[in-house]
């Protein structure tokens, strides 16, 4: 009896399953290597720069969840980044007893709430209208933040204390702060990775590929889109909250529509609809801004980003990671 059982078990392990297992193995090793690189990175590069990259990478990953996996182009994600940042900044600055992780959670929750409202409004329209609605809503938020007293208006919030994580780990050192940010990034990335590879994520992709068909199969498409929107908004808020703690400031730059454009560029450049594309794109755009700021071309950041945008759309639509995946599939499978 037991002999036949083992036999059927070995029989069910078809070659394709074996291949799948090997692929899973390879992926896990790949993830471990990347985490290892992340752990030693602050000893090689400047931690503050790395933290900036990680915050924007999380922001871009959150944005990519909508564009890459549901096919919704949000042109208003700056609103969630800024909301997370402002709420966390305001709470931490006005309540010194509050620990940073609670401030970040509060900022994220407010971004989730805003995402719930904006998501419900904007998914009522599709395609380019969706993009215009999200842009207009984000501009509304921008004007509200310009006028509200709690954001500090044009000046923004300065001197937000980093505080002590859980009340006893000081974040004043950049190294401690880095590992905290890295942990937040990993949590956010894991949530996205899990969502994309779950049955829920499969339905999202089905909506992206053919929305009427998903409707006809009985899926409540609007509910799926809304949940994705709220998740994306919340993670963008998490990125904004974390960024505020790192740099100890929150400003209108984060709420401006330029920021919504920048996150699109990061995602497009890295590869829309790939897990690591936004991370690579964020790394490149942040590095580029950093390098250009010190060079004589400092004033030309905007036009240069515009040129990259145009080149990406005209002839590099898969993005860096997308192209790598393409050639990998061609040569190794």
């Amino acid at each position: 009896m037991s002999a036949t059982q083992t036999q059927t078990q070995t029989q069910t392990l078809t070659p394709s399953m074996k291949r799948q297992r090997r692929a899973d193995m390879r992926r896990n090793v790949f993830y471990l290597v990347l985490i290892g690189i992340g752990l030693v990175a602050p000893f090689v590069a400047y931690p503050v720069f790395l933290m900036k990259v990680l915050c924007f990478a999380l922001f871009a990953c959150a944005f990519n969840l909508l564009l890459g996996y549901v096919g919704l182009l949000s042109f208003g994600h700056a609103a969630f980044l800024a909301t997370g940042g402002y709420v966390t900044g305001y709470l931490l600055a006005s309540h010194p007893a509050l620990t940073p992780e609670l401030g970040i959670i509060a900022g994220t929750l407010v971004a989730v709430a805003l995402g719930a409202v904006f998501g419900a409004l904007s998914i009522r329209r599709q395609g380019i209208y969706f993009a215009m609605v999200t842009l207009a809503l984000a501009q509304l938020v921008f004007f509200v933040y310009v006028q509200s007293p709690f954001t500090g208006g044009e000046d923004g919030l300065h001197g937000v204390p980093r505080g002590d994580l859980f009340g006893f780990i000081s974040l004043r050192s950049n190294l401690a702060m880095y590992y905290f940010v890295f942990a937040i990034f990993l949590i956010g990335f894991a949530i996205i990775q899990r969502a994309v590879h779950s049955p829920y994520g499969q339905v999202l992709k089905a909506i992206r590929e053919n929305e009427p068909r998903a409707v006809s199969l009985g899926y409540n498409v609007d509910a799926y889109k809304w949940v994705a929107f709220v998740l994306s908004a919340g993670l963008a808020g998490l990125a904004g909250s974390t960024k505020t703690v790192v740099f100890q400031l929150a400003s209108l730059t984060d709420a401006h529509w330029h920021m919504s454009g920048e996150v699109i560029l990061m995602t497009l450049l890295g590869g829309v609809g790939t897990l690591f594309g936004p991370v690579v794109g964020a790394g490149i755009v942040v590095s580029l801004q950093h390098l250009l700021a010190q060079s004589p071309l400092g004033n030309w950041v905007g036009p240069i980003l515009g040129i990259i945008f145009v080149v990406c759309v005209l002839s590099f639509r898969s993005g860096i990671v997308g192209e790598i995946l393409k050639s990998y599939r061609k040569n190794f499978k």
Partner: protein, 295 residues
């Protein structure tokens, strides 16, 4: 002094006029967006930049070439329109077969290039353009003072809107355009040069934006960023009205300008945001937009 709803009549009507003039700009810009959208199915994110280029063409034309306002009114839309046609021919056409979101992204990138480059040459503070001599001064209407130039802007915008409506609804070229909006493949089969039609349409839509830019030059500071903030409001106007009809775009534009003007009188803090709030209301009550056709 006469009062209207608790506000002096002069203030009330003055703000209403200002609102109507803003509305004229919304109408011209959303009209151009609607014309382009009809045939190309893309949202022209560079529309604000084209409006700005129209204003700059006017300013620089006067400064370096001695072109006066009246010539600029004709030349600036022509030059910017030709420029737009080149962009369509060599860039937009290459991605026409793809998802229309790419068109949006491409034009957004172009807008970043134009605005960012001009900021480096002209700064962000903006330059003044003198009101043409013929239109200086104004009329004393008894209840309020009407500057001549503002009256001219309103009249010119309405004339151009009516002209556009006439072109599209009553001429042979307009009939081609409407047919192309419905079914470009069939049009092509009938022997109409659809790619050329698309290029001309984009050029015309962009020229409308540039025309608005010329009108704006003596009213507002001419600065590289003058278009982008306006464009976001125009997007909200377009969402409110829907891009289905020419008349709808014009009426919505003017109406939103008026609402904005009224808000300035009664609750100035919300003047920046009222159009976005109207947009939210419309999305809740009539998601397809006031004049929208899509389900």
């Amino acid at each position: 002094m006469t009062m209207i709803f608790g506000v002096p009549a002069a203030v009330f009507l003055g703000q209403l006029l200002l609102g109507l003039i803003n509305g004229a700009f919304y109408a011209l810009l959303s009209l151009g967006l609607a014309v382009i959208f009809g045939l190309l199915k893309i949202v022209n994110f560079a529309h604000g930049a084209m409006y700005m280029l129209g204003a700059f063409a006017t300013l620089l034309g006067m400064r370096y070439l001695g072109i006066n306002y009246w010539a600029a009114l004709l030349l600036a839309p022509l030059v910017v329109g030709l420029f737009g046609m080149l962009l369509e021919r060599f860039m937009l056409r290459r991605i026409a077969h793809l998802d229309h979101l790419y068109g949006l992204l491409l034009t957004f990138g172009l807008a970043l290039i134009f605005e960012g480059s001009l900021v480096n040459f002209f700064g962000v503070s903006g330059a003044r353009y003198p009101t043409p001599e013929l239109l200086q001064g104004g009329f004393q209407l008894g209840f309020m003072f009407l500057p001549k130039y503002r009256a001219f802007v309103l009249a010119a915008a309405i004339v151009v809107c009516v002209f556009t409506w006439f072109m599209i609804e009553r001429t042979r070229l307009g009939a081609y355009l409407r047919a192309g909006t419905e079914n470009p493949a069939l049009m092509q089969a009938f022997g109409v040069n659809v790619p050329l039609l698309i290029t001309l349409t984009y050029g015309f839509g962009v020229a409308l934006a540039a025309f608005a830019g010329v009108l704006a030059a003596p009213l507002y500071p001419v600065s590289p960023n003058m278009g982008s903030n306006l464009l976001i409001v125009v997007f909200a106007v377009v969402v409110i009205g829907g891009m289905g009809s020419i008349l709808g775009a014009v009426i919505t534009g003017l109406a939103m300008g008026l609402i904005e003007g009224l808000t300035k009188v009664y609750y100035p803090e919300a003047a920046n945001t009222v159009i976005f709030l109207v947009m939210i209301l419309v999305l809740l009550l009539r998601p397809a937009g006031l004049f929208g056709k899509e389900a």
